[in-house]
C-alpha cells in the first residue's frame, strides 16, 4: 500500500516555489538556471537549491553545455503520485465495502 517514492515527491512539491519552477519547466521546456531565475522573484542560489531538490526527487534532469547547465522537467516521475492516488482509492473502496458489510450486521 505505501511506497516511499511518493513521499519524496510530496515533500519536494509541497513547496510552492519549487512547484512553480517544476510547472514552468513542464510548460516551457528546457532552460538554464538564469532563465528560470529571471521572472521568479527568487534569488539564483535559492532557485539552484530548489532545482537540486527537484533533481533528487527525479522531477528534473540537468545537462551541461559549455558553462551552462540546462534543466528539463521529467514529468513521468509523477507517475508514482498517480499510482499512489490509485492505490489509496482502491484501498478505501475496499474498506468501504467492509464498512457496508459491518453496518448491515450492526444493531441500530
Amino acid at each position: 500500500m505505501a511506497t516511499r517514492a511518493p513521499d519524496l515527491i510530496f515533500k519536494t512539491l509541497g513547496d510552492p516555489t519549487r512547484r512553480a519552477i517544476f510547472e514552468r519547466l513542464c510548460r516551457d521546456g528546457e532552460m538554464t538556471v538564469w532563465k528560470i531565475t529571471a521572472p521568479s522573484g527568487v534569488s539564483q542560489p535559492a532557485v539552484s537549491k530548489h532545482l537540486g531538490a527537484l533533481k533528487l526527487a527525479g522531477l528534473v534532469k540537468d545537462r551541461r553545455e559549455g558553462r551552462e547547465t540546462h534543466y528539463s522537467a521529467q514529468p513521468q516521475a509523477l507517475a508514482s503520485l498517480t499510482d499512489w492516488a490509485r492505490q489509496m482509492t482502491d484501498f478505501w473502496e475496499r474498506k468501504f465495502d467492509n464498512l457496508e458489510d459491518l453496518l448491515n450486521r450492526m444493531d441500530q
Partner: protein, 143 residues
C-alpha cells in the same frame, strides 16, 4: 501562496444507515478493527494511536487525532513510518458525514504533504486545493 499544498484522494459513498451508526463504526476500536485495521483509537483530539497490519511498512501506522465532531467529522494523521526521517511523511485522513434522505453520505479524504505543514493544516482545516487535477493537466501539457 500561503495556503498549504496537498495531493489528495477523495472517496465518497452513500450508505443507507444513520450518521450515528456510521460514527460508531468510525470511532469504536473493536468496530474499526472489523472494517479498517486493528487499532487503539480513542475519539479524543491529541490521542496518539496505531493501526497495525502485517502488510504495512514496519507493521504499523502512527496516527494522532486532529478533529472530532460527533456524527459529523473525524480527522487523524496517518503516518507511514520510515527509518529515514526524510521519507517519513504524514498524511491526513478526514471523514465527513452528511445526513441524506435515505441515510448518510460518507466522504473520506486522504491528503499527503510535508510534516511541517501539519500546524498550518489545523488552521486551514478542509477545503484545500485539489492538487492532483493540476498535476494531470501539467502532465497532459507536457506530453
Amino acid at each position: 501562496m500561503s495556503k498549504p499544498d496537498t495531493l489528495s484522494v477523495v472517496i465518497e459513498r452513500e450508505f443507507s444507515h444513520q450518521p450515528e451508526k456510521i460514527w460508531r463504526a468510525l470511532t469504536q476500536p473493536h468496530l474499526i478493527a472489523e472494517w479498517l485495521m486493528k487499532n487503539d483509537f480513542a475519539p479524543a483530539v491529541g490521542h496518539r494511536f496505531n493501526f497495525r497490519e502485517d502488510y504495512l511498512p514496519n507493521g504499523a501506522l502512527d496516527c494522532e487525532v486532529l478533529a472530532v465532531e460527533p456524527n459529523k467529522l473525524l480527522s487523524y494523521t496517518w503516518g507511514s513510518t520510515s527509518d529515514n526521517p526524510a521519507f517519513a511523511v504524514q498524511n491526513i485522513v478526514t471523514f465527513t458525514l452528511t445526513p441524506t434522505a435515505t441515510g448518510t453520505h460518507l466522504r473520506v479524504e486522504q491528503a499527503g504533504f510535508r510534516p511541517e505543514q501539519q500546524q498550518a493544516y489545523q488552521g486551514a482545516k478542509y477545503g484545500w486545493p485539489r492538487f492532483l487535477d493540476k498535476l494531470d493537466q501539467t502532465l497532459a501539457k507536457a506530453n
